[in-house]
């Protein structure tokens, strides 16, 4: 019965995924990662541009000052995290090549817009 093979496939995938997911935060905790503060108020981000260095991991710390939940989301950076009213979240972001990466609030996409700008280091 192919159902057995499916079950095997799923449990295999889950094991691999689980091991990865449990290990990956442990690896990332080894060194200090810089934090970038971001505030959401009146459904707008401030600052709406976050300058960061290339190829360095960082953590966006978003505080929601609104009385409304928001979904902090980015297609460019692939995250989608709920932030509750008057709470803050920490969003780890991988090292990025130079470029502009947009993020937005999925519940108020017209006003809640911002971007991460990675400019190459000039000597």
């Amino acid at each position: 019965m192919p159902l057995n093979r499916l079950t095997q496939m799923i449990s295999g995938t889950l094991w691999a995924l689980g091991t990865f997911l449990i290990l990956s935060p442990t690896i990332s905790r080894a060194e200090a990662v810089p934090e970038v503060a971001l505030t959401l108020e009146h459904h707008q981000f401030s600052p709406n541009t976050l300058p960061v260095e290339p190829d360095k991991r960082f953590i966006i710390v978003l505080s929601n000052k609104d009385n409304h939940p928001e979904e902090f989301e980015s297609y460019d950076l692939e995250f989608e995290i709920l932030v509750f009213p008057h709470k803050s979240i920490r969003v780890p972001v991988r090292g990025l090549p130079a470029g502009t990466y947009t993020f937005f609030g999925d519940f108020h996409p017209k006003t809640a817009q911002g971007k991460v700008v990675v400019s190459p280091i000039t000597h």
Partner: protein, 276 residues
């Protein structure tokens, strides 16, 4: 107000599309029992979303935390596997030459795969459903001095109703399409949706540093279709469209689609052989 309406229409569409496809497909296969299991899965999801919505204040840390992220990733990968299994199964057993149904088909759904239907319907509804509930909850919080929550909550609720109505009408209107064509369309749609889930899941793993991107942004089609437009956002959420995908995402989805094409061909051929 209109924005609230449109956002909730979209969220609800996203939450109910998979269930819509499942229900109408089972309807066409004449499988009443399968339909009941889909409704069961979807209802449990709606119920759980409502409970989580009610407890949102206390569960904030969980719903914004790492555990939710891992849950999200499972909700991308598991349905993709289930959907693929179901589509291949449908190709194998869903129709005979000439497109009439085989008794064996519904028989197998009845005995083998009901739990897949329950899980699929559950996961299809759960993630977007939770967002919808939390958005509505947020609207109900807006009743500060001088700001009435009534109208925007009403806009939100009618958005939700519209989303459900659209899916309902969409699949009602497919009743006249011949069964063979219908199964083909729904299979293609399901495979593309599964590919989209894989794309989103892969993207998430790249973002977490679990998978290497290979090339971080392989190309840029944001001028043609941008995820931040209403349509682009829907295509992104339904079918995993990314204007600047990492190479590993492109490779994963291509390999998946190619693999499914081969498996479906083979399954259809074995389905055409007379059964013994």
């Amino acid at each position: 107000m209109i924005e609230t309406y449109l956002i909730l229409t979209r969220e609800t569409l996203e939450a109910s599309l998979l269930v819509g496809i499942l229900l109408s497909t089972l309807q066409r296969l004449g499988d009443k029992r399968g339909q009941r299991f889909v409704v069961l899965g979807a209802s449990v999801a709606v119920f759980l979303c409502l409970i989580l919505g009610l407890l949102a204040d206390r569960l904030a840390d969980f719903l914004s935390g790492e555990a939710k992220n891992i849950l999200d990733i499972c909700v991308f990968f598991l349905p993709a596997i289930f959907v693929s299994y179901m589509v291949i199964w449908m190709a194998k057993n869903g129709r005979e030459q000439g497109g009439t149904l085989r008794d064996k088909a519904t028989h197998a759904i009845k005995h083998g795969s009901v739990w897949i239907l329950v899980m699929l319907a559950f996961m299809g509804v759960f993630r977007e459903g939770l967002e919808t509930v939390l958005f509505l909850w947020g609207l109900s919080l807006q009743s500060g001095p001088g700001q009435a929550a009534g109208p925007s909550l009403l806009a939100g609720l009618s958005g939700t109703a519209t989303g459900i109505l659209i899916v309902y009408l969409l699949f009602k209107s497919t009743a006249r399409i011949p069964i063979g064509t219908f199964l083909r369309i729904s299979s293609v749609l399901l495979v593309i949706m599964a590919g989209g889930m894989l794309a989103a899941g892969t993207g998430r793993l790249v973002a977490m540093g679990v998978l290497p991107p290979l090339i971080f942004q392989t190309w840029d089609t944001s001028r043609i279709l941008n995820e931040h437009s209403y349509v682009g956002g829907m295509v992104a959420d339904f079918f995993g469209y990314r204007s600047k995908p990492p190479l590993i995402m492109v490779l994963t989805v291509s390999a998946y689609l190619a693999g499914m094409l081969i498996l479906l061909r083979r399954a259809e051929q074995s389905g055409k052989k007379p059964s013994h």
